[in-house]
Symmetry: D2
Subunit: 327 residues, 4 copies
């Protein structure tokens, strides 16, 4: 298996620094840019993406946000403090039934959500990962304080996240239900998938890469091992592939996009060290790709209109999202 | 002014009950339906909506979610317990800079949001308002408990909220910056707006009605009087108009869609008594329509592709949303 | 073992209703009372309790409130929606170090807590449990709405929770480290403990009953089985004993005070059906009694001044608390 | 007025640094101490404090924690991100009445609190304020991260906060209802108060200083100007007085203990720069002293047993508290 051989030599900090030099997009869209590769999508790409809507089918790529979400599982790694959404009512139908709302002359329910922005299907914003003391476009990491991200907040993307979506369904190509933990999706695998599915990834695309890990968890009725645990995922070398392809963003159906155990002992999530702060690449995680994958297998069309607007929470470094694939 | 005359006689409970009989859509999409008029949009409507994308321009209709949001203001009415979003960091760039994250071998930020689902730009779900002891499609209101909405939760809409959007910009038609509080947008006003802007509202559309109230607040640098206060808005009679038009959903730039002071002394928000639980009409509120309105005035096109996916929070009766108008 | 024999016959609803008739204290302290048996403690009792302070030793009976708290465990029973405290910073020392606070001319940290009132060491208020449609003193249960408890809120106790504390250390009496799950502490056991430890429970006392379950969990480094799981605890018949003794309140080191599996198949937590709504008995749970137990064993004094003020959260049905035993 | 003359010359950073040198208690209780002046109270002081309980009267010094709390007001100064408590139900009596809980075989209510630790009556912990890059006892301020205070967390005080309380009721001494904003309570004022009320502040005491500001706010039915606004309060020079007296802690009925406008233009809250990080002085704020003041005026006894246990929230830099004065 490509992945297994590939990861034979562990990445050192020297490899990571070299990648940083090689792939740095700082200044590419001006010194004040805060959205990075989302700039790759041009107006004409949005028009072309809309033309891909041909049968009027809308597919949601979001997991439900609730107490059964993916933060419930255990792994051998240290936890990050994320938890599943806590949903609480301010007023409920039971209050209505009990008559206690009638002095208001209307019976209604209202509610509150408490959630980490990255507890379920989510965008990682460009304020999410730092490289040394810097973040995307060279901004000082101290612009992300306890008050939130003064630079690169997710709200800066509020008129992006629309374009051509492309699905590369790796386990389907390999005749598997899902990829095993530790499976590294290499450039060769990605190239082969383009060819296999007859779809080319192009500048400005939103690339979705399926591993099947969510389906594996749902089949096993447990999230143990998912959030923060080992997983199949992108190899470090895909950073170069993505840079060459000029994708707008990439999303996977795993917790952390990249392969785990990681390809380095010196850095955790080495692919993240480069993708977000150095390349300015917005990353989607925990995208639920099962329905879309079935549909693509059925109609043989692996491209679609993709619309996945982040909530413009000022200063947030991520966002929950209900991504839609529209065909 | 149409609105002023119109509201001369206050609505009684008899009027409201008559409207409930006249406009009841219960069972129209089967006894198990939980999404109501969202059913009006058909696949071919989604395809047609996508064809409206012609210049590749994406416009967000969301206010930022932050502590400067619309819940900050005061009104003469009783408060509802909603508050502006509270955004907190689990890890920040200042932690990174201080070196306290380095044992993790990656420097990152993470955050949490605490927010009423209806504190800013939002969808009202069909679990939000009750009619007596019942809700949309005749479900018992006791299915909305402190644990959330077992029926008609907003997550049921996760593959909807896509279609043709139409903007009716009432103040622009009237040559005003914004409509005054208490201005009732009647059926006659809506008809006139269609004609004025050369756009016809059709089955399955997402209708956006602008009053300009958000711009008035932003100009005055205060939200006092906005959330829960008096406002221009839809007249009660528009329920019949919307039923006839078979819209999928309607949204306005006000806190509560309908005109305030309300047209009834016996019921608060009488339009809501019918629209949500009786007709099954999903309602958008606090949509920020200024940029879209400017664009429509410029290119004279008041129709566009509309994509505004709710977050699928299980059992929620509303959802924050970043609605996109794509032209 | 007394407990085992005792529970041979399962309680029926008839038993529970009979206990309700027998033990009902409604009206005992007037029709407007909202604090029940806390009234048993008289000013002279407070003075006498203070006289028990003889060596100036202060012992906290609280578990730490943090993410390692007792809500983390799993049981075979359905969960209740409680979670461990979530502690978040508004400003931190790392912000200070990074210099981002200096425009304020002071460097400080600030924080927020999100917690169920009953996630750790806690008081159950009198609004916590209902008997049919009624609660303590006959109040309608509909006075506890989504807006909180309009009657019997924990804030009504704010000048109580001070008196003579008495510890009955059951496992120590029995020569055990801790009591096994399902062990029912009967009246006979309580009587024997008074005699064994040479301490008499009197009117107005705050009675603490130790089972050792927390120490068992801490020794095993897991909370699995604790919150909502099986446990040693008070037998149903102790309701009569407590009524006769006229205690102000009772607290144990278990999640739910009473023995589990419960003594009834028809009612869950049958002891709670009577203690809180019928007797007006305030109940403490998850009190960490290990240090106090060691101290009492050492100085042979099982009485002390007890001060455990609830936070006066308006309308709350419980409260976190740092209970102090002062000797 | 002493205060007015006193503040004629504004404090410079030089004054503050000199005070830091003069009053530094670092190392006084060993290099690992995390509770500072709370060490002043000795076991015999606790015993003596208990002897002050003579009539069995318990007085709460806490404001209710609810949406009407002191964070609701406006001032001319920048806000700090604190808000009033948000209290939400997980289950309510209206659920019980509606029958939706009966499958559980028990009817109960449960709730959640979301609150800044310093939104109402509160203790400032020793992790709350930094001096340069250091905090109490010389600890690095980077030990207070987004994960909380690894040093000097409020949980370290869990077996403290018991001792002799002394009230100095300044407005009563001066024949005023309450002190005006900007009134500086100087050492001379404190000395005079001791003499006037016939009470001497001693080593290990918990000193409560009343300004009457809360009563002024309650009388005016507004919190505008209170939290973060101008206020009467302690003069900077009282730091020396408190050091000499060796108090365990001090609390006032104002938002920020010290006089505002501050006595310095170069530092905000200059008294805080020294009291917390340099002296290790725990500070109570927003203590509601009205009832206690009335009682002391009545029985002429300005000393009492004081018990005000912080909630042991791990890593918190403050704590809500229901402080009790027991006489």
């Amino acid at each position: 298996m490509a992945g297994t051989e590939h990861t034979a030599r562990k990445l050192t900090m020297k490899d990571i620094h070299a990648a940083a030099e090689r792939l740095k997009n700082w200044g590419r869209w001006g010194g004040k840019d805060e959205i990075g590769t989302l700039n790759h999508t041009q107006p004409q790409d949005v028009v072309a993406a809309a033309r891909l809507v041909q049968k009027g089918k809308i597919m949601s790529l979001a997991l439900p946000y609730d107490s059964n979400g993916p933060q419930g599982g255990k792994t051998k790694y240290a936890a990050l403090g994320r938890f599943n959404p806590i949903h609480l009512m301010i007023r409920a139908g039971t209050d209505a039934y009990s008559g206690v709302l009638d002095h208001r002359k209307i019976r209604g329910a209202d509610d509150i959500i408490i959630m980490p922005t990255q507890c379920g299907t989510q965008w990682d914003g460009l304020g999410h990962i730092f490289y040394g003391d810097q973040m995307w476009n060279g901004y000082d990491c101290r612009t992300v304080t306890s008050f939130g991200a003064q630079k690169c907040g997710i709200e800066k993307t509020r008129e992006k996240m629309v374009g051509r979506g492309v699905l590369l369904d790796i386990p389907r190509m390999l005749g598997q239900e899902y990829l095993p933990d530790g499976f590294a999706i290499t450039n060769e695998v990605l190239d082969r998938a383009e060819s296999h599915f007859g779809v080319e990834v192009r500048r400005g695309d939103y690339l979705l890469v399926r591993t099947g890990q969510i389906e594996a968890m749902l089949a096993a009725s447990t999230w143990d091992g998912y959030s923060g645990g080992d997983a199949p995922g992108l190899a470090f070398e895909t950073l170069d592939w993505l840079q060459a392809k000029q994708v707008a963003a990439i999303a996977t159906d795993t917790w952390g996009a990249e392969v785990r155990p990681n390809e380095s002992d010196e850095a955790a999530q080495p692919w993240h060290w480069i993708s977000i702060p150095i390349m300015g690449l917005t990353v989607g995680e925990i995208f639920h790709l099962a329905e879309l994958a079935r549909d693509c297998a059925e109609d043989k069309r692996y491209e679609f209109m993709f619309v996945a607007p982040a909530l413009p929470v000022t200063g947030a470094v991520g966002s929950p999202v209900n991504p839609l694939a529209i065909k």
